[in-house]
C-alpha cells in the first residue's frame, strides 16, 4: 500500500540508505542501553567500595546478556484483572517514544537520522508523549500501588516538562533556530555551557525527573509503592520499561551534549590538528559517556525527596530560575553582550 502511495520518492538509493542508517542506529542503541545496566551496577559497586557484578565474562561484562536470557526465560504473565491490551501497549509506548527522540540527534557531522528544522520541539513532544506509557501502565494494572505510581509520574512529568522547555529556550535564543544541527554548529567558537550554565542545570534536573532516575524516581519508589507503575510487570514487558529508562538516560545525556557541550565538535581550545585526529562520533560518544557517569554518580549519592517537596521544588525554584535565565539571556543578547549565531532583524 505504501508503495502505491509514493511510487516516486519511496524507493530510491537515498531512501534505502536512510532506512539502513536508522536500522544501524537502532541496532546499536538498544545493546548500549542494555550495557548501561551493567556499567551502572559496576560503577555503583566501585563507588560504594564493593565489587558489583564481576562473575559473568571478563570483569562481568556479559552480565546484561545473562540478565536478558533470564528475563526471556520468565513466564510472560499478564494478571487476570489487568486490562490486557493496554497492559501490553504501555511498555511499547514507553520504549518507542524515547527511541523516536533519537531521530533528531546529530551523532556526528554526517550521521544522524533526520535534520528536522523543529528538532528541539520534536524532542520535547516525544518526551511529553512518553508519559502515556507510564500512566496507561499504572492504570491498566488496576493495582493501587501502580495507580499511585502513575499518578505521581503524570504530575512530575507535566511539571518538569515546563522547566525543561523553558531552559532550552536560552540556547534557542542564542542560535536563532530549533534545528539541532544548527545549534551544534553555532557552538564552534565556544560551547553554550559557558553562557547557559543556569539553563544547563535546570535542564539536567528536569531531565532526571523526566526519566524517573533515582533522586526523582518517586513513581517507582520501592519503599513506599512496591515498584510503582510497573508493579504488575514481569518478563519481556518489564524489560521494555527498563530499556526505556536507560534509553532515557542516554537521551538526556545526548541532548545535554548537543545543546550545551558542543555536540560532536572538539573543544575549541584544542589545536585543529589534534582535534581532527579524533573523529566527530568519538567526541560525541565520549561526552555522552561522561554525562551518563555523572547521572550514575548522582544516583548513588543523593537521597530521594518527598513527593510534595519534589513538586514544590519544581514550581518554586526551577520555574523562576528558568524564567530568569531566559530573561537574562534575552537582555544580554539584545544589548549585544553575548553574541549569538543568526541575525536579529530589528523591526
Amino acid at each position: 500500500m505504501m508503495a502505491d502511495l509514493m511510487p516516486v520518492d519511496f524507493i530510491n538509493t537515498q531512501t534505502l540508505f536512510k532506512l539502513i542508517e536508522i536500522a544501524v542506529i537502532l541496532g546499536l542503541l538498544i545493546p548500549i542501553a542494555a550495557m548501561l545496566v551493567w556499567v551502572e551496577r559496576r560503577m555503583i559497586g566501585i563507588w560504594q567500595d564493593r565489587h558489583g557484578p564481576n562473575r559473568v565474562g571478563p570483569g562481568g561484562i556479559l552480565q546484561s546478556l545473562a540478565d536478558l536470557l533470564k528475563i526471556l526465560g520468565k513466564d510472560e504473565f499478564t494478571p487476570k484483572f489487568a486490562d490486557r491490551f493496554t497492559f501490553i501497549a504501555a511498555p511499547i509506548i514507553a520504549a518507542v517514544t524515547v527511541l523516536m527522540s533519537f531521530a533528531v540527534i546529530p551523532f556526528s557531522d554526517t550521521i544522524g537520522v533526520s535534520n528536522l528544522n523543529i528538532g528541539v520541539l520534536f524532542f520535547l513532544a516525544m518526551t511529553s508523549l512518553a508519559v502515556y506509557g507510564v500512566v496507561l501502565a499504572g492504570w491498566a494494572s488496576k493495582n493501587k500501588y501502580a495507580l499511585l505510581g502513575s499518578m505521581r509520574a503524570a504530575a512530575q512529568t507535566i511539571s518538569y516538562e515546563v522547566f525543561m522547555g523553558l531552559s532550552l529556550m536560552g540556547v534557542v535564543l542564542l542560535t536563532g533556530s530549533f534545528n539541532l544541527r544548527d545549534i551544534v554548529l553555532a557552538q564552534q567558537d565556544g560551547w553554550f555551557i559557558s553562557t547557559q550554565i543556569i539553563g544547563f542545570i535546570v535542564f539536567l534536573i528536569a531531565g532526571i525527573a523526566e526519566s524517573h532516575r533515582l533522586p526523582f524516581d518517586l513513581p517507582e519508589a520501592e519503599t513506599e509503592l512496591t515498584a510503582g507503575f510497573h508493579t504488575e510487570y514481569s518478563g519481556l514487558k518489564f524489560a521494555l520499561f527498563f530499556l526505556g529508562e536507560y534509553l532515557g538516560v542516554t537521551l538526556i545525556s545526548a541532548m545535554s551534549v548537543t545543546l550545551f557541550f558542543g555536540g560532536y565538535l572538539a573543544p575549541s581550545f584544542l589545536p585543529a590538528n589534534i582535534a581532527n585526529m579524533i573523529p566527530a562520533l568519538v567526541w560525541f560518544i565520549g561526552k555522552v559517556f561522561i554525562l551518563i557517569m555523572f547521572f550514575i554518580l548522582l544516583r548513588t549519592s543523593l537521597p530521594r525527596p518527598r513527593f510534595d517537596q519534589l513538586l514544590a521544588f519544581g514550581w518554586k525554584v526551577m520555574l523562576p530560575l528558568a524564567l530568569f535565565n531566559l530573561l537574562l539571556t534575552a537582555v544580554l543578547r539584545l544589548t549585544g553582550v553575548i553574541s549569538g549565531a543568526g541575525d536579529i532583524n530589528h523591526g
Partner: protein, 175 residues
C-alpha cells in the same frame, strides 16, 4: 503529489478519530481517540508547511492537556460503579474496539512520521511556503497583538478562578 497524499491520509485519520470521540459513550475511549486525533492534526499542520504549529500541538495538547484529562478520568473511574463497563469487561468484547481502534490509527500515524523522517529532510516535501517560528512570533506580536492580550486575560481569569476553588475553606465564618 508528495505533500497531498500524506496530508489527506492524516486528515482522514483525524476525522475518523474525531467521529469516534463524539459517537462513543465511554469517556476513556473518547479521550484516547482525541489523543490520536490531535496527533493526526499535528501531522496535517506539518504537511501544509507549519512545523512550528505541529510541534506545539503535540507538546501542549497531546502532551500536557490530555494527560491531565486522562489522569482525572483514570482517578475517578476506579471508584465508579460501572467499573466493568469502563474497563471493557462487560461482555469481554469491549476491550477490542476500545484499545484496538486508537492503536491502529496511532500506528498509521507512526508510519507517516517515519515517512516524514525518511523521505523529507524537508526540502522536497515542503518546497512551498514554510512558516517558521520567527514569522509566527512576528505576527503574534504585530497584527495579532490584541488577540494575544485577550487570550492572556482569559488565562489570567482562569488562573484566579482556579486559585479560588483550590483555596482551603476556612472554618467558622469569614477568613
Amino acid at each position: 503529489m508528495s505533500v497531498e497524499v500524506p496530508f489527506y491520509f492524516a486528515a482522514a485519520i483525524a476525522i475518523i478519530a474525531s467521529l469516534r470521540v463524539v459517537t462513543g459513550s465511554n469517556a476513556i475511549h473518547a479521550l484516547l481517540y482525541l489523543v490520536v486525533s490531535l496527533l493526526a492534526v499535528a501531522v496535517c499542520f506539518y504537511f501544509i508547511g507549519a512545523p512550528f504549529a505541529a510541534g506545539l500541538e503535540v507538546i501542549v495538547y497531546a502532551g500536557a492537556i490530555l494527560v491531565l484529562f486522562v489522569f482525572a478520568v483514570m482517578m475517578f473511574d476506579l471508584q465508579g460503579e460501572d467499573e466493568a463497563k469502563h474497563f471493557g469487561r462487560a461482555g469481554n468484547e469491549g476491550w477490542f474496539s476500545a484499545w484496538f481502534g486508537p492503536s491502529v490509527l496511532a500506528l498509521l500515524l507512526l508510519v507517516e512520521l517515519v515517512y516524514i523522517i525518511v523521505v523529507s529532510d524537508s526540502e522536497q516535501l515542503l518546497a512551498s511556503n514554510v512558516i517558521e517560528a520567527k514569522q509566527v512570533g512576528i505576527l503574534l506580536y504585530g497584527p495579532y497583538l490584541l488577540a494575544v492580550e485577550i487570550a492572556s486575560f482569559l488565562l489570567l481569569a482562569g488562573l484566579v478562578a482556579g486559585y479560588h476553588f483550590a483555596k482551603p475553606d476556612v472554618q467558622g465564618g469569614r477568613p
